[in-house]
Structure formats: C-alpha cells, structure tokens
Amino acid sequence: MADISYKSRGSILNPLRSLSFLTRKPVTLPLEPRAASANYRGFHLNDWEKCIGCSTCQKICDNEAITMIHIPELPADPVKGVRAERPAIDYGRCCWCGLCVDVCPTASLSLSREYIHICNDDELDSYFILPDPNGMHELHFEHGWQKTADSDLVDLKRQAMPVQAADERLQTFAEFTAGYDDQQALVEASRCVQCGMCHDACPAHMHAPDYIRAIWEQDLEEAVRQIYRTNPFAHVCGRICTRRCETACSIGVRGEPVAIRWLKRYAMDALGHDRVKALVAGMQGDSISGRRVAIIGAGPAGLTAAFDLAQQGHRVTVYEALPEPGGMMRYGIPAYRLPHARIDDDIDVIRSTGVEIQCNVRIGETLDMTQLQDENDAVLLAIGLQFGRSTRIKGADHHGVRSAVELLRSIGLQRDLPVPHAIVVIGGGNTPWTLPAAWHACSAGNMAVSM
C-alpha cells in the first residue's frame, strides 16, 4: 500500500474508481434468522431442573434486572436447599454482561444464540421474562454463553481443615482438628454467596449468612452476636453439629459446600471466651419478669431453653442428675471430637446470663416434682433420649450386649470399665467409630475390634 503524503494533491477522479464496485457481486446478506456465535450473549435460558432458586444471579446483577419469582407448583425443600423460586429478567434493565451465568452456583443459567427478538403484539408487554429452557416466547434458540471452567466465578474448593497426623492421634486424645487460622477463615467465608439456604435448612435457623459475612468483614464480635441470636452452644455446634446447612449450601451443588461449621468454630475460638462472655452480657435485655422457671436436664435442649428464658428476664434454675452439666454433649461425645473445656466455655456463658445449674439432683429422688411445680411458674422437662436403640434381633438382650449411648456415658463418667479382649461393633456410622477409640483412651489394655 502506497504512502499518502501530507502534500499529496490527490485527484478528483480517484473516488470514481469505486464505480468498479457496480460490477462486483453484492455482499449484502439476506435478512433471515440465523444463530449467533457459539459464545453469544443473547437472551436468558434457565434449566428449571438444575436451578435451586438461590438468587445469586440477582445479587451479581449490575442493573437490578433480576427478580426472584415464587412459583408455587415447583418443589421446595429447605433441607436439600431447593426453593420454589426462579429468576425473572427485566430486559429493560439487562445489559447482557452474563455475570449471572458466570456466577450461577448450579450452572443452570445460560444465554441463548438469539440476536434479535421479535414478538407479537400480545407479547409486547412481556419483556419481563421468566427464562426457562425453551427460550424467550418459546423460540427454542440454542445455548450461547454458558459457564465454562475459565469463566466460573464461584470458588468450588473449600479450605482444608488442618488435622493431626494419624500417628500423632495414636498418642493423644486431644482434639484432632486444629481449626482455621485467620487467613483460611477469611478465604472460606469469602466463598459464601449469601443465598441463605443454610439458614432455611438449619433446625435452629441460625443466621449463618450473617455470621459468615461478618467473618469475611473481619468483625468477629458481629459474627458471634449473630451466632448467639439463635444458639448458645456455639463452641459445640462449631465442632460436632450435623451441619444440615452444608447439605443445603448452594455452592455444594457443583463443588464443596462452604465450611459453615468450621467458620462458626473459628469465630468463637478467635474471639476468645472472655470477649464472648462480655458480648453476650451486652446482648441481654435489662427487663426482669419476676417469673421463675425450672428446667430438668442440663443437656443442649435444657440449657438452650435456659439461655433463651434468661435473656427474656426470667429466673431459671436447671437441675441435672449427673455430676456435670452438658448431657449428651459431655457424656455421649468423646473429647477428641469435642473437648470438655469448650463445653464448659459454652455453659459458662449461659451461667453468666444468670442461669443457675444444680448438678447431682435427680428429680423424684433428691427433689420432689410437686415441690418444683409449686415453687416455679413453669417446669420444663428436657431429659433427652437416654436409651440406646436396639437391633431387635435374637440375643440382643444378652448381658454382654451394650448400647452405644449407655457405653459412651459410662466412658464419659470415667467408670472403671474393664477392657475386653475383643469386641464386635454393629454399625458403621460415626458412633461405632467413636466408641472403641473412646474406650481405648479411658482404659489401658489391648482390644481387638471387629466392625
């Protein structure tokens, strides 16, 4: 290509060369429907089977174009983390950036290969679209922009919990999980998309999104405040909760769910017992109701009720038959999973709200039930489920057969338990694994275990 200099005079005839275009074949493309590129960001498609209604798309949307719509016909299951809600798009607001697709935890959203949408008069008002797999106004365009490994904005991998090596664990009965450090907790908390599925799934409806957000904001006091809104056993649940929240976590659909339980534990451990106590004291209202409540059983149910009642200004006394409060937490769970010091911390916080706990008091023996009823405005029985389940097979009532609950309580009470030469454990869940370890730890001697 020749240079054109500044001084060049040019020619008035030069443009006439373009007349040669008259003889060329026209390049105008006929206007007919064609699919856009494989990557094109057209209109939204949503696979309703995959979508769980978590509303993460709504949160990332730059233009607030997405509204979650409740659809009563759809199945909803808070325990599994599924809501009967689906995103609807306002195309007067959407800017087709596709961030909703890239952030979608389930990969249900995608954009179609539709360039231009033309609709009938009667559909004119329907540019507020509830996308489904069939495309806008059932036009069935193919998938364009979809989530890929490059574009996924959700962090699917959780922070690994540091644990003791197997040979170290042989030597000690100390807690085998070390807990997150500050950095791990920050990264883990940042994975949360604040969908609230955990809150819905939690039997106590703990405010997990709020305390996770607070951990991410490095505001531990706020995190603990959020935890104590619903649950005074934060140390305990931060260690041995069955974590339904994590089953429901929307990140868990394609990846590893946010480690909600470990984050709760981190918030409690990192803030420290004294500050937790001071904080809970600050949360307590100053009204005194003048009413008295007696609670029988200092297990999780009894003590949680005691905490909640004390927060409301009632005077609470808890009666416990065993020498220490804690119930199944103390006598059913070995210390390498839940150290007793942490149970003591939680109970100390509950005590600090004015709850009185009397141990070694067996109602009906030490103290009379009618007396309790006379002296209190209400009596709560929170005695738990103290009997183990049986297999109900022939011979299950043999004197050598023991239930896990009862055996663990004996171990917890440090009763002198002779170590047998060999035991057979029926079942393969958490408790059967716990049992021989706990037994072994409290008594010296070798024992052959068959699971």
Binding site: M1, S11, S18, S37, N39, W96, W145, C192
Partner: protein, 380 residues
C-alpha cells in the same frame, strides 16, 4: 412555553448570531453541543456544552462491586469500548496485586487492537460524512461490522465485549478463531487501496482538511492533547511504546506521525495507524498458539471480594488518545473512587473551543470529527 407567556427578547443590532451545533445535529458526535457565535460564516467564539448524556459513571461505580463495574465501564466509549474495560481491569489488578496470566495479556492486546481497527474505520466514516462523502461511511461501518463479527465469536458481545474481569479475561478463544482473524486482516488490507482512492487521496478531502483546525505542538501539549491528535502535531508519543503495558514491549510497530497538526494530519495519522494495528494483530495471531496457560488468575467470589486499600493510576492508548483510570480502594468490596481520564475530555472541550474559533462554519463539524472526540468521556 405557551406563546402568550413568551416574549421575544430584543437584541441589539449585530453582525453576529449564536448557533447551537448539537445536541441534536448531524455534525456533532453523540449527545454533545457546541454553542458557537458566527459572523457571516466565520466562527468568532465557541463554547462546549456537555451534560446531555451524563449518567454519572464515576459515581455509579462507587456503588457497585469491583466485578460489576466491568459491565459499566465499556459504556463510557461506544466506538472503542475495549480500552475502557482493560484499563479498569489493569487498575484493579494493580490495586489487588493480581498476576495477570501471559495468555490473558496477549488476548487483551488482540482485543485492544481489533477495537482500535473498528474505531478507526468508524472514524473514517464519520469524518468523511462531515464533508458529504457518505460512501466512505457505508464502507467503514460495513467493514467494522466484520470486526464486530469477530468480537461476537471471541468475546460473546458485538459492541460491548465485557470480556475482561480483574485478573484476566472471561473466555478462551474459540477453536477456529485465529484463522478467521487472519482472513479478516487479509481482507482489510485488500480494502485499503479502495479507501485510499475513495477518501485519502480524494482531492476534495485533501483540500478541505489541509490547514483546517490547526494547532501547534506547543498548543497541543498545553491543552493536554494525546494520542493520534498529538502525533499529528509531530510528537511521537504513544503509551504502547513509551510506557508499555501488557505485552506491547514484545511487539514491533511504528508510531506514525505528521507535523502540520491540522485535520488532514489527524486523518493521515489514523490511516497509518490502521496498518500498524494490522501488523500488531498478525504478530499476536502468530504468537498466541505458543502461549499456553490459563486466561485468568484465581480470583475470589466476586460477591465477597475486598480489594486492599490503596490507589492506582493505569493508562492505555485508546484509539482516541491516552486513557487512564485512577482507582482508589478503601479496602472494601466497591471502589471508593474511580476517575476516568478520557482523552476526549481535553479534545472535546478546550481543544475544540480553541480550534473552532476562526474556522468557517462548514468546517466546524469536520474539526469535531477529526479530533475523534467521544462525548461520554467528558460526561462521566
């Protein structure tokens, strides 16, 4: 505005009258206005008037997550949106200490140069139209559309790519892309002689633009002129070469200059830049198959992404000049402040006001277009 309430203001007798060019005028770029005072057909005073498309981009960005802003920034410049998103992403990466993977750097250069090509083709159409030459506009827009086809395949969007995120780019290239790019570059190169005949060596164009809207290099520097408009005044300054970003230091290209500082120089500089962009794109296409690796570094969940406190100033060479982003983070999940230094801020205000004075009325539109001003860069 009922007629009975409206009284004509009597003006003293004058040879001058005021004329609004814009905001709704074929001779103005975008929603922008230039209020001029003319005596006969000579312009005696000019006042730039912005604000017609003010959306408050900078303020909006303070209320959006770091990630969300990638959907907002390209809108500051319609003809050349790629530098906006890349410059913003570079700014956030500088603040957050993110290591941009090498492949993402090459992909960004490709996007920038394709966008420059598209913007220049658009420019030739626009500036020709101010002289009544519409064929050039049709050609420019049609050829730009072929580039938009590539953008569609490559980034998912035709005009606003929104292809970048802080930390890299969003997608890997489609399989057949480099072949399509090579074919398009060949085609564009084969078209340049046609453009030359139609426009760049057109006697009418040369006569009308030579000497129109001239500024000296000294004036240009005082007024803050950058980019092709500055290079048209004889100063070979190009951010790509003089303060290289991404992988521009590994690429061979020239920085074309002219010396006269008038509309013709500005047009010729851009014509020559077209060739340099094609040259760069060929190098990128040759290099890309040898650059492996991810296209994005690991980034956290965008809904919970704090950027460490600090400030960054990043600049890139857009088709209009030096584009820079000043990003300030207070450590939160949204910017504390973002300032966009759009090159057109200078070109469309003080430069245009100065160059219009003394020009003839029919040349004003040509001066505006030859400066390639983009009004949203003023109305941020």
């Amino acid at each position: 505005m009922r007629p009975e309430n409206y009284q004509a203001v009597s003006q003293p007798p004058s040879h001058e009258f005021e004329l609004n060019i814009g905001p709704n005028h074929p001779g103005i770029e975008g929603n922008y206005a230039l209020k001029i005072k003319v005596e006969g057909d000579m312009v005696v005073a000019a006042k730039a008037d912005a604000g017609y498309l003010h959306r408050g981009f900078e303020k909006l960005m303070e209320g959006r997550l770091w990630m969300q802003n990638i959907a907002l920034v390209p809108r500051i410049c319609v003809p050349d949106p790629a530098p906006m998103e890349i410059c913003y992403a570079l700014g956030v990466e500088a603040l957050g200490g993110l290591q941009l993977p090498e492949r993402a750097q090459w992909l960004r250069v490709m996007q920038l140069e394709l966008s420059r090509l598209a913007a220049h083709l658009f420019y030739f159409g626009g500036v020709a139209a101010t002289m009544g030459m519409y064929s050039n506009m049709f050609w420019g827009v049609a050829d730009r559309d072929l580039i938009l086809d590539l953008f569609e395949a490559f980034t998912g969007g035709r005009v606003y790519s929104m292809y970048n995120v802080p930390g890299g780019v969003r997608r890997e290239l489609p399989d057949d892309f480099l072949g399509r790019l090579g074919a398009l570059l060949d085609y564009l190169e084969s078209r340049l002689p046609d453009y030359d005949r139609l426009f760049f060596s057109n006697y009418v164009m040369l006569q009308r633009t030579r000497g129109t809207g001239s500024m000296t290099q000294q004036q240009a520097l005082e007024w803050g002129v950058t980019g092709p408009n500055l290079r048209a005044c004889g100063l070979a300054f190009d951010v790509r070469r003089d303060d290289p970003y991404l992988v521009y230091d590994q690429l061979e290209f020239d920085v074309p200059t002219e010396t006269a500082g008038d509309a013709l120089s500005r047009i010729l500089v851009r014509r020559n830049e077209l060739l340099q962009s094609i040259r760069i794109l060929r190098q990128v296409a040759a290099q890309l198959p040898h650059v492996a690796g991810p296209v994005r570094c690991p980034i956290p969940n965008p809904l919970a992404w704090n950027i460490p406190p600090g400030e960054s100033y990043t600049r890139v060479e857009s088709s209009k000049g030096e584009l820079a982003y000043y990003c300030v983070s207070s450590g939160g999940d949204m910017p504390w402040r973002v300032h966009v230094r759009g090159p057109s801020q200078m070109h469309a205000v003080q430069v245009l006001e100065n160059l219009a004075v003394g020009a003839r009325l029919e040349d004003v539109a040509q001066i505006i277009f030859s400066l390639d001003a983009c009004p949203p860069e003023v109305d941020r």
